[in-house]
Amino acid sequence: MGERQVLAATDVTRALKRMAHEVLERNKGCDDLVLMGIRSRGVPLADRLAANLEAIEGTAVPAGSLDVTLYRDDYAQTGPRPLGQTSFPADIDGKVVVLVDDVLYTGRTIRAAMDAVMDYGRPTAIQLAVLVDRGHRELPIRADYVGKNLPTHTDQDVRVHLVETDDVDEVTVVDRQRADAP
């Protein structure tokens, strides 16, 4: 079982700063932006991104949390999961909603997140910011802002640790144990 670090704490910080600049550049400022962190690790990332935007532009950007459990497409197979809270910090009609998540993989979580957002209102646009894009999309979804592109194999796990929940900032890749390992 091998676990190797692909992003250290400073890498995470720099990536988030760069992404903040990209968001501002693309949206020509941060008026009418609402950040929505996807539970669970997307939430602290959204908060940090909002803090970065405010530090650069001097304007507060609302950040909220989005739980997509009820919109998942695997309920029939996996069964019920505990529900998390969804809280929109502002009305999203006519706003640009930037979804924030830690890892973009198959794209199904983002599909669920977009359906959830559309049930809450009518944004003018939805954009996507992710810390890591590990490839292997199963749906035609792409991120607008990427912290790191990370090609992976499907038998690898990408683990994101954040200070808010895990005492350290880092991203690691783990080779999953072989099934027949003693």
Binding site: D67, L70, Y71, Q77, T78, P80, L83, G84, D119
Partner: protein, 304 residues
């Protein structure tokens, strides 16, 4: 979770907590502009109501539709049910139609249990005879927990016609399971001594109980009971076990009052009490939808 929800006793305290916690997540859905989530899309749920009960059926129907399920309503009036088709035949028909879940209300105790023997669908008991009404107990537990912040260690009194009440059976057992100290109050003709085997104490003196409780649960008393001589008159019942302004004032300040509805104003409860700030009757109804969504969500997920 479990396959069928026939009785509150089917759930462990941990499972009850899971239902309540999940319900909190569902309460949100009612506050959105689009009061729907796609979770049960493509599932078919039949509301099989052999007893007239618009309130409960509507509560279930709203819960089911907010989860995007397809809903079929079979009421006692106006379907083959009223023409004398047996429960078994109705069950086999629903089975043949491939229904995923059946929410059944029936006047015969045990009918939901019997139904499970005839169908593959999950069965949820929405009230059977005098036996059980588990979702009522769950929404009551939710309401109490939401208002008072906890369940364990609270003291509750359940007052009224326990013998004939499925709500009483579920509520008492549900409260006891969650660590609430329960006292059952009413005339001996309506409160059987076997209630003590349910984990509650029994008393016939309401006034003595009121200052010592956090939760007052009032059961509906039907005039039918007076005609069958379970008590001499509604006036006497109201005087001894009815709760009006005077008795409301005997409760501790933070105590809350619940009633499963519909109310017999003037018998077990007066208008003063029903409209008092510490009466949470309307919240019970609101919470009912979220709790029922929670039950259906937990029952219908996954292969099994």
């Amino acid at each position: 979770m479990i396959t069928h929800l026939l009785s509150i006793d089917d759930l462990t305290p941990e499972q009850i907590t899971e239902v309540l916690d999940t319900a909190a997540g569902f309460k949100d859905v009612a506050l959105r502009p689009i009061k729907k989530v796609p979770t049960l899309r493509g599932r078919t749920i039949c509301n099989l109501f052999y007893e007239d009960s618009t309130r409960t059926r509507i509560s279930f129907e709203i819960a089911e539709k907010r989860l995007s399920a397809d809903v079929i309503n079979f009421s006692a009036k106006g379907s083959s049910v009223s023409k004398g088709e047996s429960l078994k035949d109705t069950a086999l028909t629903l089975q043949a139609m491939g229904v995923d879940a059946i929410v059944i209300r029936h006047s015969a105790s045990g009918a939901p249990q019997q139904l499970t023997g005839w169908v593959d669908a999950k069965v949820l008991n929405a009230g059977d005879g005098w036996h059980q009404h588990p979702t009522q107990a769950l929404l009551d537990l939710y309401t109490i927990r939401e208002r008072l912040g906890r369940l364990e260690g609270l003291r509750a009194a359940v007052v009224g016609d326990v013998v004939h009440s499925r709500v009483a059976r579920s509520v008492v057992r549900g409260l006891v399971a969650m660590g609430v100290e329960v006292t059952v109050v009413g005339p001996p003709t309506l409160v059987p001594t076997s209630v003590e085997t349910w984990g509650a104490t029994v008393t016939h003196d309401l006034d003595e109980t009121l200052p010592k409780i956090d939760v007052l649960y009032l059961l509906r008393v039907q005039s039918e009971r007076m005609h069958r001589q379970f008590f001499p008159s509604e006036r006497e019942y109201a005087r001894l076990w009815g709760v009006g302004r005077d008795r409301l004032d005997k409760l501790p300040d933070d105590a809350i009052v619940l009633h499963p509805g519909p109310m017999n104003r003037g018998v077990e409860i007066t208008a003063d009490v029903a409209d008092a700030p510490n009466a949470v009757i309307a919240e019970q109804v609101t919470n009912g939808i979220a709790v029922r969504m929670s039950c259906l969500y937990l029952m219908l997920g996954g292969e099994a």
